[in-house]
Amino acid sequence: MIMTDIRWFKYSSPQTFYPLAGTLAPWFSAAAALLAIAGLYISFFMAPTDFQQGEAYRIIFIHVPAAWMSMFLYLVMAVWAAIGLAWNTRLSSMMACAIAPTGAIMTFIALWTGALWGKPMWGAWWVWDARLTSELILLFLYLGFMFLHAAIDDPRRADRAAAVIAIVGAINVPIIYFSVKWWNTLHQGASVSLMRSPSMAATMLLGMLVMALAFWMYSIAVILMRVRCVIIERERHADWIKAPGALE
C-alpha cells in the first residue's frame, strides 16, 4: 500500500479501488490455497511428533497464525478507521468495515484451537491466563465495533462512531494485556511452556511461517472481496456504479 506518487490518491477512491480489488483477489486466493497445501504438508508429514505433547502440538500450525492475524488485523482495522475519521476518506472506513468480520473470525479460531489444545495439555478447556483473557477481550472489542456499526443506520455516522471505539480499543489492548499478565503472575506461575527439541524447532518454525503466510493471503483475499460488496452497498446510487458493466 505504499505508493508515494499521486496514484495513492487515485486508488483511495472506491471507484478505482473496486476493479483493482477485483483483479487482485483471485491472485491472493490462489496464493492462499498453494501456501495452505504446502503448510498442511509440512504440518502433518514433515514435522515430527513432539516427544512431550504427542501429536496434539500440531494444533500450533493454525493456532499461532490465527492468533497473530487476530491481533494484527485489529491494528490494521483501527488504523484504517482512524484515517477515515481524520480525513473523511470513504474507502478507509469501508476497509475497516471489511476487516472486522475476518478479524473476529481469526480471534474465534485462536480461541477455539487454544481451547482444544488446552484440554489435553492442561486438562482444562480454559484457564484465566493473560494471553487467553486478552484474546477473549479482543473478541469483544471486535464484536463491539461490528455491533455498534450495525446499530447505526446511517453508514457515514456509523463509520465515525465505530472508528472512535476502534481507536480507544487499540489503545487499550496493550494496557489490557499487561494488566492481565501482571494480575495473573501475582496468582500463579505461567503454566504453559512448550518443550521442543532444537532439531524440530526448524521444521516447526517453517510450518508456522508458511501457514501464517497462507492465513495472510486468505485474509487479504477475503477482505478485498468483502470490501467490494461494501462498496456496492454504499455507492449504490453513485453514477459510476450505475454504469453498465461497472460491477464486473
Binding site: 478447556w125 480454559w126 464484536l143 450495525a150 446499530a151 496468582h187 500463579q188
Partner: protein
Amino acid sequence: MSAPGLLDSVVAVVARDLRIALRRRADVMTSLIFFVIVVSLFPLGVGADPVLLRTLGPGVVWVAALLACMLALARLFANDYADGTLEQMVLAPQPLALLVLAKTAAHWLTTGLPLVIVAPLLGVQFDLDADALLILLASLLLGTPTLSLIGGIGAALTLGLRGGGALLALLVLPLYIPVLIFGAGAVEASAAALGAGAHLSLLAALLLGSLVFAPWATALALRIAIE
C-alpha cells in the same frame, strides 16, 4: 371480541416484537454478550484459581443471567411507552394482560432463550462437568421465563420515571432472589450428588405462579403508568 380476533392480536404483538428484534439483531446479541462478559469479569475480579472457580461457577452464571435479564427488561415497555404504541395497546379491545403475556413471551424468546443456550459454554470456562451443565441448562430454562414475567411488573412500574433503570433493579432484584437461590442451588445440589429434583420443581412452581399472576399485575401497572 371474537376468539380469532383475539388470537390474531396476540400473534401480531409477538410477530411485531420478533421482527423488531430481528431488525436490531445487534440488540439481541449484545444482551447475550453482556452475559458472557459479566461471567468473565468475575474470574478477573476474584482470581484464576481453578478450584475456587469451580465452586463459584453456577452462582456466577446465575447471577450474570439474572443481571442480563434485568438489563434487557428496560427494553420491554420503555420504547412502547415513549413512542405511544403502549397507549394503543391499552386501547386495544383485547384484555391487556393477554397482550402483556404476548410481549413477555417475545421478550423471553429474544433475551432469555439465547442466554440459556450459551450458558453451558460458560460453564465450561468454569470447568463444570457434564451433569452439572445439564442441570444448569434445565434450571435456566425453568428460571429465566420467571425472571422475564416478574421483571415485567417492575418494568411497568418504573415506566416514565427518568433514570428508571436503577429503580427497576431495586424493585425487581428482591423478587428475583428466590429464583436465584433455587436455580444456583439446583446445580450445587447436583454437584454434591444430592439430586436437583426438588430445586427444579420449586422453579417450575415459581414459573407457574408468575405465569398466572404477573401479566395481570403488569397490566395494572401499565394502566397506572400511562395515566
